[in-house]
């Protein structure tokens, strides 16, 4: 087993193991903190696939942004972190249908994709290519995404303001 294989199995174990903790933990704060390791594992898998820029962006946005927001949300909502989360089984029938459909789609994708061994491909930095594509072929989606973020920002400001006027 090479170093690459060891790294892959370790990261895969971290990702899957912590993901199981996220969904099965009874304490919501544990779920939030376990998500950290899921994000870390996924970022590590991206690194193994030579997608360095995506990996770092994953860490920056999900760990530095979204996870902090989630944990803040949990902590600031009074008493939420003391309430045990329901993890019993509900709606078994519909759940089987939905998860079965998702699993089927994933299997279809896995079987249809033409895989290649990334160890044999020499890649240089992805940052420049991503930047060039974002500024040429994908300029419109890129700009639309930024407008969506701006709208979300304005919405947050408006909600925060309105509360202050009432009090």
């Amino acid at each position: 087993m090479s170093l690459f294989d060891v790294a892959f199995y370790v990261l895969a174990f971290i990702t899957v193991g912590s993901a199981i903790v996220v969904v099965s933990s009874r304490n919501i704060i544990y779920s939030a903190f376990a998500l950290l390791f899921t994000f870390f594992g996924v970022a590590g898998l991206y690194v193994l696939l030579n997608a360095d820029f995506i990996a770092v962006t994953q860490v920056l946005i999900y760990v530095g942004g979204i996870l902090v927001l989630i944990i803040f949300g949990v902590m600031l909502t009074t008493k939420v972190f003391d309430v045990p989360v329901k993890t019993e089984t509900l709606h078994v029938g519909p759940a089987i249908v939905v998860t079965g459909a998702i699993m089927g789609t994933l299997f279809g994708v896995i079987l249809k994709t033409k895989w290649f061994d990334i160890l044999n491909v020499q890649w240089d930095g992805t940052t420049k290519k991503i930047g060039e594509r974002l500024m040429t072929d994908f300029l419109l989606p890129f700009e639309v995404a930024s407008v969506v973020l701006l709208v979300a920002l304005l919405g947050a400001v408006i909600i925060a303001r309105r509360e202050r006027v009432k009090s």
Partner: protein, 331 residues
């Protein structure tokens, strides 16, 4: 297995550096503090100006009892200091100590450092929450609000430098600035790079919770903030992470604005060995500046802190970024 051996050696060197540097800076901090306050500080241990005192302090910390509060969350309480130190140590992987040594020569070096240090935020939140102590939780909340806000001017000023040099690789950024004092980034696009540096330095002080931005620790209000309940080795981990972060932001300032390992005299006193000397002394200079500031300036209030970040530093760094970007295109 030579591959694994290489990885081990490359990862042990930064760790050794952090440990040795922490002992030195522990002494410097106390001595500078004492001299700023017109006293001598410790003079006895080891003989010359109490040089052995930090070693004695470390031994004391190592032998202290581990106290875990009864109603704290045991797992997260133990995990938090490890996470905080591990993330600041991980960031050292991308620091080029000299032209021939960098633990991981990443194409996206500076971006990686910005991202990996966000684990510190989670670690601090973990520490504050798991301690089950009001001071700890308040300190953690303040710390995270502060780090998240000040990340914006920090990243914007780093982005300004990246626009000017056109690469994210820290080794290449150093390479570009070779050839004497005036090829350093700080002298490019005058005076905008100088302003960028001042913004970066101010914001990085807040990122590492140093005075005048030490609101999360604020010993007169919050006991010690998020590490109130920590003792012994776990406390030492937080302490070590704080000092490691101080050198980290100073090292980045040295690389981005002051040429990193390159000599200020062009080819004179240049080379891999001198590279280490220049990089470390530039970094230590900014650490020294941070220590001096700590014992000179009073602490900001929380609302002043947010005002400085959102209404002063962020707009200025936006304007800076645009001007430097425009200038770089026109050149």
């Amino acid at each position: 297995m030579p591959e694994i051996l290489n990885v081990l050696i490359a990862s042990v060197i930064p760790l050794l550096f952090i440990l040795v540097y922490a002992v030195v800076i522990l002494w410097v901090e106390i001595k500078v503090a004492s001299h700023v306050q017109d006293r001598l500080g410790y003079m006895y241990t080891g003989g010359f100006h109490g040089w052995a005192q930090p070693i004695a302090d470390l031994l004391k910390l190592l032998t202290k009892e581990h106290i875990t509060p009864e109603r704290s969350d045991k797992i997260l309480f133990t995990l938090a200091p490890i996470l905080v130190f591990a993330s600041s140590y991980a960031a050292y992987a991308a620091l080029p100590f000299t032209s021939t040594f960098i633990a991981a020569n990443l194409n996206i070096g500076i971006f990686y450092i910005v991202a990996i240090t966000s684990f510190v935020v989670i670690g601090i939140l973990m520490a504050g929450w798991s301690s089950n102590n009001k001071y700890s939780l308040l300190g953690a909340m303040r710390s995270v609000a502060q780090i998240v806000s000040y990340e914006i001017p920090t990243v914007l000023s780093i982005l300004t430098v990246i626009v000017a040099v056109g690469t994210l690789n820290l080794q290449e950024i150093c390479e570009i600035q070779k050839g004497g004092l005036f090829s350093w980034n700080i002298f490019k696009y005058p005076p905008f790079m100088l302003i960028t540096f001042l913004i970066y330095f101010t914001a990085s002080l807040a990122e590492v919770n140093r005075t005048p931005f030490d609101i999360p620790e604020a010993e007169s209000e919050l006991v010690a903030g998020y590490h109130t309940e920590y003792t012994g080795m776990k406390f030492a981990m937080f302490y070590l992470a704080e000092y490691a972060n101080m050198f980290l932001v100073s090292g980045i300032a040295a690389i981005l604005f002051f040429g990193g390992w390159s000599s200020p005299f062009g080819e004179f006193l240049a080379g891999p060995g001198w590279g280490v000397f220049w990089f470390v002394s530039k970094g230590l200079f900014f650490v020294f500046l941070q220590i001096m500031l700590r014992w000179t300036l009073p602490r900001l209030r929380v609302d002043q802190l947010m005002y400085v970040s959102w209404k002063v530093l962020t707009p200025i760094s936006f304007v800076n970024l645009m001007v430097v970007g425009l200038w770089a295109i026109l050149k």
